[in-house]
Amino acid sequence: MNLREAQAVIEALLFVSNKPVTKEEIMKITNLSDKEVNFCLQNLANQCQAEERGIKLVKIAGGYQLGTKEQYAHYIEDFISQPAKTSLSSAALETLAIILYKQPITRAEIEEIRGVRVEKSLQTLLEKGLIEEVGRKNVIGKPILYGTTKDFLKYFGLFSLDELVSKLD
């Protein structure tokens, strides 16, 4: 398999997947080296940048996935007759920010920081799969500890948490 074919296989794999594919998975399926996969992915990303391409290579949640370009979102929303995606409330985002940096953390600890009850936010975040129960705190009442999930990265279009930290500094 030459590198042009390798790139074709990678495009095909990414095309059929509805979740991010890791470099390791690609290497396993294609029998290519890390360097070769990198080269193909880079090439794929470059070619998607052409004006006549509607999709792009997204580096997300520890892997790679093909997604549509931002500027065409409204055509897609028209097409699948779906309103633009709903966004999280400020309350839920604040709760999530606290969990992200303080995890594992209990509900009472979050409420202490936000100064309000967070039951509803936690439910929303749990339901959206952005946070999960990660254990119990070893204090009276054994309260539930919360942490963020892998879907968290996917939802915010992040490759890793480091990306977010660097944005803050």
Partner: protein
């Protein structure tokens, strides 16, 4: 003076406080307590006017601010009488409040970044889920350790939680029935009905058991005193405080 019907919604007491501090263009570490407290209470008043829910958290913060404000207003000599003990406590309260504000501000900033990222990410669409994925699904992989018993237990638990949730909502509605305005009227009525037009502080508060009721009553009382409708009188230090009707105005007159 402009009257804003549309009020900004704040995500809790820290959010509102932070907004007032930023508006006053002062450093978090040197909050002008008296000024901020008045603005804070003023905002709660406006929230009530446009029928926004003033939750207990906002009232607890109001009580904290009022405590800090009254401490700041007390003459220095009186405070020193207690060997500076009261002073230390108030300082600790203020420092604690500032530390919490600083921390809250940090997370609010992260939430803002997340909001931006969310907006960007929401514009990218991915391939939909396809039948092709279902064909080879091995349920034992998905349900690896889950038993029917666990599902039944989970069901019972969730129905129980659902019941509790609904009960809680009912209780919450009851709690919110009383506004500060209503409580002010109640206190006035209590005083009017009383022969001596006088009631003791402890007697008044014995009527209210919960924290939130107590706070609302206290705020209502402060407002009545401010409006010069009720006066508070204490015969001796640490003695009982009596509240008496200062000015009786029939409701009709007040509204004219």
């Amino acid at each position: 003076m402009g009257y804003h019907v549309k009020l900004e919604i704040f995500e809790g007491p820290f959010d509102l406080l932070l907004h007032l501090i930023e508006k006053a263009e002062v450093d978090i570490y040197s909050i002008p307590i008296a000024q901020i407290t008045d603005q804070y209470l003023d905002y709660l008043e406006r929230m009530k006017k446009v029928d926004l829910e003033v939750t207990s958290e906002f009232l607890i913060m109001a009580a904290t601010l009022i405590k800090l404000k009254s401490a700041a207003l007390l003459p220095k000599t009186e405070k020193e009488d207690n060997n500076g003990l009261q002073d230390d406590e108030d300082n600790a309260l203020k420092e604690n409040l500032i530390a919490k504000l600083v921390e809250y501000k940090y997370f609010k900033e992260i939430a803002r970044i997340l909001k931006e990222k969310e907006a960007e990410a929401s514009l990218v669409y991915y391939r939909p889920y396809q039948e092709i994925h279902k064909r080879d699904v091995d349920l034992s992989n998905v349900l690896n350790n889950i038993t029917l018993k666990q599902l039944w237990d989970s069901f019972k638990l969730v129905m129980e939680k659902s019941r509790e949730l609904k009960e809680k909502e009912e209780i919450k509605l009851l709690k919110e029935e009383i506004t500060i305005d209503q409580r002010m009227n109640e206190i006035l009525n209590l005083l009017i009905k009383n022969k001596q037009k006088k009631v003791s502080f402890s007697q008044l508060f014995s009527l209210y058991r919960t924290k939130i009721q107590t706070i609302i009553t206290f705020l209502a009382l402060l407002e009545l005193i401010r409006q010069n409708k009720v006066s508070a009188f204490q015969a001796s230090g640490f003695g009982e405080i009596y509240l008496s009707l200062k000015l009786f105005q029939p409701k009709e007159d007040k509204n004219k």
